[in-house]
Every structure is written in C-alpha cells, then in structure tokens.
Symmetry: C2
Subunit: 212 residues, 2 copies
DNA sequence: CAACAATTGACAAGAATTTAACACAAATCT
DNA sequence: AGATTTGTGTTAAATTCTTGTCAATTGTTG
C-alpha cells in the first residue's frame, strides 16, 4: 500500500467490513456516511476520514456503494490473498480456532496442527491431523505456511516462536500470555484473553464505585 | 475510583501487572520506571504518567516497590473482588475458557455452563455441568452471577444477551461476532477474533507491499 | 551527617486522533 | 434546464494521548 495509516484506523476497518457485510446480505445497495454512522454509533466524520485514507470510495449526492466499498476494504485488509496457516497447541482453544469455518471463507486455510502431547497426536480437526512438534520445521518449509497460531501455554511459546521464525513463518497469531520477541519482518498479533478479562473487571468495579 | 481515566491507560494496566508478576516471581524487590521501560519497551515517561493517574505509588530516589505496585494495580483492576461467571456456549471455545485455571486464581469462579445442544447437556468441564438454556434465567438469579461469557454464534447472541440483561447480569464477555446493544449499566468487553485475524492479514500484506 | 546520585511527580510541549465545518460535485426534483 | 438537495472530500479546530524536562525528594555513601 502507501505511507503510514494509523493503527487506530486499521483497527476499525474490520468493523466497517462487518457492517457492510450485513448490509450486503440485506441487499442494501448504497449507504451514506451518516446512515452508517447511526448504525455503527460512530461519527460520520470519522467514517469519511477513515475511508479517505485509502482514496475516495464515495460519491457526492450518492454515498457509498455497499458492494464496492466492501470489496475495497477487503482488499485493503489483504483478504483477497489466501493464507496457509497452522495451529500449534491442539487443546480446546486450538481446536476451536481450527474448527471455525469462517476463517476458511476469508481465505485462511488450515494446513496442519501440532502438539507435544502424544495423546493428541493423530487426532483430527476437519480432516487435519495433529502432528508431533518434531515435524514442525519441515512442515512449515514444505507446505508454504504463512501464519502460525500459537495456542500453547506461555512457558513453551518463546521457544516455539523462535523455531517458527527460523523456518520462515510470516506471521504469528499469539494467544500465549507472553510478548514475543521476533524480527520486525514477522508480524505478530496478540490476543491476550486475560488482559481482556481484566479490563472487564475494571469496568465492573469502576461502575460499582461510581454508582454506590 | 475517581473521574475518568482514559481507555488507553486501562488497556495498558494488565500488561504492567503481567510484568510485575514476573518480577515478583524473580523476587525483584524494587524497580524504577526506566528499568521497567526497557523491559516492556515503552517510555519511562509513559509508565510514570500512567501510574500517576491513580496516585503516587513510587518514591523519588527509590523507584517502585514491586509487591506494592502489583497489589495496587490489582486493586485498580478490581481483581480483589470475586466474580461468579457462567459460560454460554459449550463448544470448544467455551470449554477452553472454562478450563482455564488462571481465571480462577484471579477470582473468576466458574459457576455454570449452558448450551442449547442436547448432546452437550450433562457433560462436564471441571465439575461444572452443562445445563439447558431454559435453566439460564433462574440460575443467574439464584447463584449471584456477575459475568456471562458468550461463546455462541452471532445468530443467537443478541437474544441471549437480552435474557442476560433481564436477569440482572452485570457484565458480558462477548466472543460472538456482533455488537451487543445493552443498557449502559451492563459492561461489555468484546473479543472479536476475526477482527484480530484481519488486522494480522493487513499487516502481512502491507509488509509485503512495502518490501517487494 | 553532608554531599551526591537516583528517580519520582508534575507539567509543558509535541503528536496523534477525533470531531466539526464547509466548499462544491453529483443526483434529483420541478 | 435550472434550482435544490444530498453528501463527499478536505481543511481546520478541538481533544486526547504521549513524550520530554526538571525541580523536589529520597536513598546512599564516605
């Protein structure tokens, strides 16, 4: 793409895409920034400004064409590519993510799963077999894997990340509760569930404080 | 608590807590903002400013006492309370969250699980039985449930959220891929996994664009 | 116990983000 | 066809968030 779009804007794009998808499903053809702003509970100004980071997708007096805008945002997010991914850690969380069919629809193809627990090796999620950790390096190399999903406890995560990087992984979707230290050319997206739960806890207790 | 602390600050607190926990485990007694800043890869200034939102936890010439700071941040996040929670949706994701013992350590107590699938009803996660949806309202009321974790597909989520609110739930940890519309006194924390994956996708493709 | 080093807390300056305002192109109405 | 309305793209203002600086305070050392 181009220069530097702010993280804040990127973070909002998936939400735009979601609402546009719903509009598509309802066969809505066009929508104005102000209509969308009501739906999404953000300012119309922000919508226009966000979209204009990537060029003018709308038209005065008409608004935005839903299909067109949807596909443009998809492109911006890189969703027209296909990505091969593997899951490391075949516990419940790993299996949940592996079984999530919507990822497939978006172009994320599950190629393999790995675990160090012998009891899990050989079990399957959607025709994908769980393999032992020893096979990981060669598998990444010979199957053109782009993304590794890390659903293992934090203790092992740092070491596994090292192996992944050494074998040319492009990105890590990290559910382990540590900050990974990887080269800048490897993209990391963290999902720290307990952080999220703590924020909820803060909100509950801060609401109670303010309203007692 | 007091006036309005910015969302950005709150969002960083769990990460501070995590690093302080690690320091505690290593029996580190005190740490200065600049040492911590190296560890956490943020500016010392930000650490000091963040903490000062809540009062002066440090001491000139000394730094911050790790144990004390840890417990103060815990308090701010409301982690000294106990919260009773239930999980709605006993699929892999629900089971993964239900089985996560660290939540228990933080004071989040799993009281029940619910699902509409008859095949799952009666199965157990850590001695907690999966119950049918019909039992949900009375269970919330009679077991003093604070938090509901929503791990069901988006189709059912809006309706279930309504039921939760009607029965006095305080907070919803929402993994369903919709924005819930609840009264302001109900706290909602969204975990939209596909949004997170799309951000990763953006980063991969934008990195490739810039480096081809 | 005085001098010095360390380090916070406070505040100011600087960035970044969000919201508002508006000129004007496109669509629609009469 | 001309007038009116709609609604973008853009620039400007307001707000929020982050970083840098420094006086004040505390701990440490000889």
């Amino acid at each position: 793409m181009d220069k530097d779009i702010s993280r804040a804007v990127i973070g909002r794009l998936p939400r735009y895409l979601r609402y546009l998808g719903e509009l598509k499903d309802k066969n809505v053809e066009r929508i104005s920034s102000s209509e969308l702003s009501v739906l999404m509970k953000v300012t119309a100004s922000q919508i226009r400004q966000d979209l204009n980071n990537f060029g003018g997708f709308g038209q005065q007096g008409y608004g935005y064409n839903v299909d067109y805008l949807y596909s443009e945002i998809s492109k911006i997010l890189g969703l027209e590519h296909q990505y091969n991914f593997i899951i490391i850690g075949a516990g419940n969380l790993g299996k949940a993510l592996g079984g999530y069919l919507n990822f497939e629809k978006r172009g994320f193809i599950l190629k393999g799963m790995f675990d160090k627990d012998p009891a899990l090796i050989g079990t399957e999620v959607r025709d994908v077999k769980v393999m032992p950790m020893e096979d990981l390096p060669s598998f990444i190399r010979s199957n053109d894997i782009d993304i590794a999903v890390l659903t293992i406890p934090k203790e092992g995560a740092v070491l596994v990340a090292k192996v992944l990087v050494e074998n040319g992984i492009k990105a890590i979707w990290n559910f382990a509760h540590v900050d990974l230290d990887v080269p800048e050319y490897v993209q990391v997206e963290n999902v720290h569930l307990s952080d999220s739960l703590m924020k909820l806890s803060y909100n509950i207790s801060s609401y109670m404080e303010n309203n007692k």
